[in-house]
């Protein structure tokens, strides 16, 4: 078992409110990713679950038991630190055994568990070495091993991949997922890397300035962002935002601005009702447009960025900039004028004042 419940969880450091009234249920066996820009309170949330940070108000429950005043050692929660926090003066074996030794597990059992965890992670040959003599990837595994041997109800990860190089990061990401499938333990994973979040999370929790913006499965968050912040944060290159005016003509709704005029299908325009003539933010992802001489967006090519599989075009649309993804077969030159047609089903609009999603 390992169901974690966060109720109105709040943390302030004097003036700074790091985490504000967070409510979240993390189901048993689920892999939840906390995602958000630097300083949004991810680490603080994680550390409160671990018991390393005092809770200002609210509650944390694990399987129905209130953890607020429970010592970290008694929470049955293990954590993998960003810098791994391996004890430099202990061998890999001792590092992994330490938590069990402190819990007075008997020697034979410790040995069995350490060896088995080492087996799962493929680090049997490292057991006698010291952390100072390991590569980044090896340290990362040892840190994982130290968490695994304890067989906790919940695993916490604080950006465990951020100290690895790009290639190793991708590889380790896959291994971590496999490991999760194998162990099926509840995991809370903090990252500011949205690719990690998208690929790993059963659900992702997007945070901003200490407040949860949206919780949901990755694709759901990607396709139906709850607000402009989430829409802009998830996806790379990021969603384009252009300020627009809502127009109603001949019973159809258009989003109109300098250099574009985009019609909306009737079934999607409900959210804009009553806003005719008003300002909104028009949002469209680079991959949700295609070249079309009849398209509603009129731009001038400024920069062409081929990335192999695709080409990213940086366009100037009525003075604002917009990025579009086109197929790599397209030939294009700088200064050329192009027209783009947005996929009507993927057009977004946000309230310019609150950032709330309208469509």
């Amino acid at each position: 078992m390992g169901e974690v419940l966060l109720e109105d969880l709040t943390k302030d450091f004097g003036e700074v409110v790091a985490v504000k009234e967070v409510n979240l249920t993390i189901h048993d066996g689920e892999f939840v990713v906390l995602l958000g820009p630097s300083g949004c309170g991810k680490t603080t949330t994680l550390r409160m679950i671990a018991g390393l940070e005092e809770i200002t108000s609210g509650r944390i429950l694990l399987d129905g038991r209130v953890l607020n005043d429970v010592h970290p050692r008694d929470r049955d929660i293990a954590m993998v630190f960003q810098n791994y926090a391996l004890y430099p003066h202990m061998s890999v074996y001792k590092n992994m055994a330490f938590g069990l030794k402190m819990r007075k597990v008997d020697k034979g059992e410790i040995d069995r568990r350490v060896k088995s965890a080492a087996g799962i992670l493929g680090i049997e040959t490292l057991l006698g070495r010291y952390p100072g003599k390991l590569s980044g990837g090896q340290r990362q595994r040892v840190a994982l091993g130290r968490a695994i041997v304890r067989d906790p109800r919940v695993f916490l990860f604080d950006e465990p991949l951020s100290n690895l190089d790009a290639k190793l990061r991708v590889q380790t990401r896959v291994e971590l997922l496999k490991l999760h499938q194998h162990l099926a333990a509840t995991s809370v994973y903090v990252t500011h890397d949205q690719v990690e979040a998208m690929t790993m999370g059963d659900r992702i929790v997007v945070m901003h300035e200490g407040v949860i913006q949206q919780v949901g499965p990755p694709m759901e968050v990607y396709q139906n962002p709850a607000n402009q912040f989430v829409a802009g944060f998830i996806g790379s290159p990021a969603m384009n935002f252009l300020s627009a005016t809502v127009r109603a003509e001949e019973g159809r709704i258009f989003l109109e601005g300098a250099g574009f005029r985009v019609p909306l299908p009737a079934e999607r325009s409900g959210g804009l009702e009553g806003r005719e003539g008003g300002e909104v933010v028009f949002g469209i992802r680079p991959e949700d447009m295609r070249l079309d001489a009849e398209g509603g967006i009129d731009g001038t090519v400024e920069i062409i960025e081929p990335v192999g599989s695709d080409i990213f075009l940086d366009l100037s649309v009525g003075g604002a900039s917009l990025t579009a993804r086109v197929e790599s077969s397209v030939r294009m030159s700088q200064g050329e004028r192009v027209r783009l047609r947005p996929d009507p089903a993927r057009v977004h609009a946000f309230d310019p004042a609150t950032g709330a999603t309208l469509i």
């Binding site: 018991g51 005092e54 607020n68 005043d69 010592h71 970290p72």
Partner: protein, 320 residues
């Protein structure tokens, strides 16, 4: 027992209260939350040292202040005399002499130390063959006892000792260093400098090594010469260390006691009677405890002011 002087001992109820706090802390982590436990934990780690310093530094300091207003000879009960002790000191030419001897010794030792030690650290920070051995040779004297140093140098300064022998080869006549008024204090100052250089050298060296190489490399690329690099890179970055060495060297120079005691007995004619020696003599040879305490207070105020000025000056330097 010197009950008369002591303010009350720690009361039983105070002890009981702290004992129960301690027990609660040791048991802590169970009932109360980790974090209130931690707030106490840090304090309890510091507490033993704090208690020690209260008993053996702050309380004596207050006692010294109190005692400086009394006449006390260890035998008969102390008698309150107001500012009498300070007045006695003020009128005592030996105290004035002592004060200036101490000042001369302090600066005479510490100022050359700042420069020599820095020079040594710069030398040892260079790459050269056998550096490890040379470093070891320089730092070895750190381990030497003061008494050994005192004995060796007393012998060195003997009219037929090594110092005179060496000087003689340069055509200087033999001098009885320790028994002449002009030479006794300089002789002791020389020992102080010689003795202090290795320790302060290590501290400087540590500071030098803490300066990231990139700064020097950047300065080289910018075309800075050796001296420019020293003044624009090394010195500013070394400032905290310099400050530390300055304070520490003054504080350790002012404590000198053993050398004047065993080498010159404060003589000839009081020219090496530093303040600690004066305090010792007044208190434990003449049993004028009150006056000795008053002298301690004067010395303390002097040190305190000096340290404050130094910190102020250097902080200003550090900001610029």
């Amino acid at each position: 027992m010197g009950r008369e002087i002591g303010a009350g001992r720690a009361s039983p109820s105070m002890i009981r209260r702290s004992a129960s706090l301690l027990r609660r802390w040791v048991a802590g982590g169970g009932k109360r939350s980790l974090h209130s436990h931690l707030r106490w934990a840090g304090f309890f780690f510091v507490l033993p040292a704090l208690i020690h310093l209260v008993i053996f530094k702050f309380y004596p300091m207050l006692q010294a202040l109190r005692l400086s207003f009394f006449r006390y000879d260890l035998m008969s009960p102390p008698v309150f005399t107001g500012l009498e002790n300070y007045k006695l000191l003020w009128e005592n030419p030996l105290f004035h002499q002592s004060f200036w001897v101490s000042v001369k010794y302090m600066f005479g030792v510490s100022i050359p130390e700042w420069f020599f030690a820095l020079g040594l650290a710069l030398l040892l920070n260079r790459r050269m063959p056998g550096r490890a051995v040379i470093r070891l040779a320089y730092f070895f004297p750190i381990a030497m006892s003061q008494i050994v140093v005192a004995m060796v140098w007393k012998f060195m300064y003997h009219p037929f000792g090594l110092v005179n022998t060496i000087l003689e080869t340069f055509g200087v006549g033999r001098i009885n260093w320790l028994s002449m008024e002009e030479s006794a204090l300089p002789a002791l100052i020389a020992i102080g400098i010689w003795r202090g250089i290795p320790l302060f050298g290590v501290i400087y060296l540590a500071g030098l090594q803490a300066i990231p190489k990139e700064y020097h490399e950047a300065a080289i690329i910018d075309g800075a010469g050796v001296f420019q690099r020293f003044f624009y890179v090394t010195v500013p970055l070394l400032l905290p260390t310099i400050m530390f060495v300055m304070v520490l060297s003054l504080l350790s120079a002012v404590k000198v006691f053993l050398n004047p005691l065993v080498m010159t007995e404060g003589g000839p004619n009081g020219t090496t009677r530093v303040l600690p020696y004066f305090i010792y003599e007044t208190g434990f040879a003449f049993f004028r405890m009150g006056e000795a305490a008053a002298a301690s207070m004067v010395l303390f105020v002097f040190l305190f002011g000096l340290t404050l000025i130094q910190l102020r000056l250097l902080r200003r330097g550090g900001v610029e």
